[in-house]
């Protein structure tokens, strides 16, 4: 193989390698196995030691606002809050978006259970860091720390 052939092969290899690195992140797709569903539910949920559902819901709204999400709907009776955030990046013509649905419901007589479902560009987010960041911020807003649940 001459020099030009080697360069061509290297360029093609680099091209394919960079294409592979551009592939969608691992959170793409919907989970199907019960084990992973359970795992996801666990990272999406925290229990807080309070009986005041409204205070928790207001804390959720405030946290989402601090994280620069736009509140789209809130329903005290159902215990749900939906919010959305767009991220515009230089050089990209399409905005990426993340939607959040948070539900708050009583757990026993002394706790409130908060569950967050996040979608990134209409795909479920499985990255625990996303949920962890939200619950840390919510804990600060409520002056309470969330407990992991099984």
């Amino acid at each position: 193989m001459n020099t030009s052939g080697i360069i061509r092969t290297l360029a093609a290899t680099a091209w394919f390698a960079s294409l592979a690195s551009c592939q969608s992140p691992p959170e793409r797709g919907v989970l199907t196995s019960p084990e992973s569903q359970l795992k996801l539910r666990s990272i999406q949920t925290r229990a807080y030691d309070t009986t005041n559902r409204q205070t928790v819901m207001r804390g959720v709204i405030s946290t989402l606002q601090d994280l620069e999400f736009m509140i789209e709907a809130a329903d005290a009776a159902l215990g749900t809050v939906s919010a959305r955030k767009f991220l515009l990046v230089r050089g990209m013509a399409v905005a990426s978006d993340m939607t959040m649905t948070v539900t708050v419901r009583p757990r026993g007589e002394k706790q409130m259970l908060v569950r967050l479902n996040a979608e990134f560009n209409r795909k479920a987010v499985e990255d625990p860091e996303v949920y962890q960041s939200f619950f840390v911020a919510l804990g600060k807003s409520l002056f309470l720390s969330g407990h992991e649940v099984d």
């Binding site: 960079s18 690195s21 620069e68 993340m98």
Partner: protein, 187 residues
């Protein structure tokens, strides 16, 4: 030589694309502007019940030409939308195109979406320290970009950016205080 340059250029373009693509964790980062924005968007009212404040806020939002989309009195939340007149949107196209041309692509990223065609507003209240007549009112105005739905008349959002101009928020809270005072005096 040309082949080498082309391969290098392609790699750089691809690498740039990959590096700038947002990932979910980025959405949870609190920007340095978050605290100053919250300050501008929030006002504490020391002598008003939540229902008084909510009614006055809805009145101001309507005075500003917004259509109330959703509200929940128990949570103290109101959201609204306002369409921009199409002639205003058209007027914005030229300066945006000029800015994109003059800055050689270094224009703000939102300019890629074109002129915004609507506004949104989100208002939320929170009681302070358990005192029944002390509340923080937080309002955020957004520029939004809509697109017509494929399967029906409904529009869906394709972009939104919070408006950070302090003047806008000062004006809103001024109007809210005036509306509260009017409501108390029975006008």
């Amino acid at each position: 030589m040309l082949l080498r340059l082309a391969a290098l250029a392609a790699l750089l373009v691809l690498a740039y694309g990959c590096a700038t693509k947002p990932v979910p964790a980025q959405f949870m980062e609190v920007s340095p502007q978050s605290a100053p924005n919250r300050e501008v968007q929030t006002r504490r009212f020391g002598d008003a019940s939540e229902s008084e404040l909510l009614a006055a806020s809805v009145g101001v939002v309507q005075d500003l030409g917004f259509r109330v989309m959703a509200s929940d009195a128990q949570l103290g939340v109101v959201t609204g939308v306002k369409q921009r007149p199409s002639e205003e949107v058209l007027i914005d196209i030229f300066p945006l195109a000029l800015s994109a041309g003059l800055t050689f692509g270094l224009h703000p990223p939102e300019a890629n979406l074109g002129p915004h065609d609507s506004f949104r507003v989100v208002l939320a209240m929170r009681n302070v320290g358990g005192q029944p007549r002390v509340h923080d009112v937080r309002i955020t105005f957004y520029r939004t970009w809509l697109v017509q739905g494929v399967h029906g008349p409904e529009q869906r959002m394709r972009g939104a950016m919070a408006i950070t101009s302090p003047v806008l928020y000062q004006k809103f809270f001024g109007m809210l205080s005036a509306t509260l005072a009017r409501a108390r005096s029975g006008n």
